[in-house]
Symmetry: C2
Subunit: 209 residues, 2 copies
């Protein structure tokens, strides 16, 4: 009976050391229990289906299916799923997207153990635990600043060292169109030039590192 009252936790992260860290952090919490581990987004979805945990800790950077896709997939199937984002780097759009995608908590890996435990507990109680700076990011401009899929596609080709003309050939569109897209991208990212745009996009998580 008492055992059933424990908060059942699933941890999805491709770093075993982080799993160990979570285990360590939870082992002294009598009201929590780590019931599953996943090392990829795909595995996270499978484990979620099997275990239906109360709280899921989800890293955003994982092999095969990324954390964001996994989060969305899980929420589509289980809209009540309570998922906490666990990320290395602060200030990227990935995080903002995760919140938009339905995450109810946000933890940096540099968080203290006590923060982890507190967040899990509060999220389980139904609260949302989003740091102000992330909430601001959503409120202010990141939502509007989002690049379209087409823009990201073009920016990726530009980052790979292709000129506007070559990008146009690759995508079977005119060079002028590519220029037009790049113009929009630079404006959205407040970049001085294409190089700046790529570096901003990489920093913010629009482009894979």
């Amino acid at each position: 009976m008492a055992t059933n009252d424990k908060i059942r936790i699933l941890c999805a992260d491709d770093h075993p050391l982080v799993h160990d860290g979570v285990s360590f952090a939870l082992q002294f919490q009598s009201d929590m229990e780590l019931v599953g581990s996943a090392f990829s987004g795909q595995e996270a979805v499978e484990q979620f289906r099997k275990l239906c945990p109360d709280v899921t800790l989800m890293d955003l950077q994982m092999p095969r299916m990324g954390g964001l896709e996994a989060l969305v997939a899980i929420r589509r199937e289980f809209p009540k799923a309570r998922i906490v984002v666990l990320t290395t780097y602060s200030g990227d759009v990935q995080a903002a997207r995760a919140i938009s995608g339905g995450a109810v908590g946000y933890l940096l890996k540099s968080s203290l153990r006590t923060e982890l435990v507190r967040t899990v507990r509060e999220v389980h109680q139904g609260l949302r635990r989003i740091p102000p700076e992330i909430a601001d990011m959503l409120a202010t401009r990141y939502d509007a600043d989002d690049l379209t899929p087409r823009e990201v596609e073009i920016l990726r080709l530009v980052a790979a060292g292709n000129s506007n003309k070559v990008v146009g050939d690759r995508l079977s569109i005119s060079e002028e169109t590519v220029k037009s897209h790049m113009k929009n991208v630079m404006e959205k990212l407040a970049a001085n030039d294409r190089t700046h745009a790529v570096s901003i996009a990489m920093k913010r998580g629009f482009l894979a590192i």
Copy 2:
């Protein structure tokens, strides 16, 4: 007596969860002992001076002084220091540099717990524990492909959206000199243009993300 035979370990990483993971991994190893924790490069150096650990686990990405500088600083003061690099991302030059800088082991954070323990033990016995792909990287081209500090400085300004002319003004050198440096950078990185160079440099760890 027996206690003194334990391998004394210092862990330097800005992620408390990783510390916890290391604690967890070590807690069942009777021949090892975690004697210190550092959360920045600077702190790592200070802790090393104070504790003189047998083995140091060092993350490369840390605030204030980076792991690489800390490693170099420690090795300069204590040439016999046995330092294992603990990194998130594989395949970057940072790792290769760390090896050049005197690291005797290299662990991905995605390593298994058993690998961590084994590496610590072997490194303490005097072995080097460098994965073949990293060793290859050193042997083949990364050594020659290294950018000079000046080139990195210029590339960083270019990544920030400055034109050659502006970079020249900032550094009080001619625009022509900047072009000359960028030419070399692009050749070394096998980049098509400056944008490509920046994206390659960020991927390889020349430029901070």
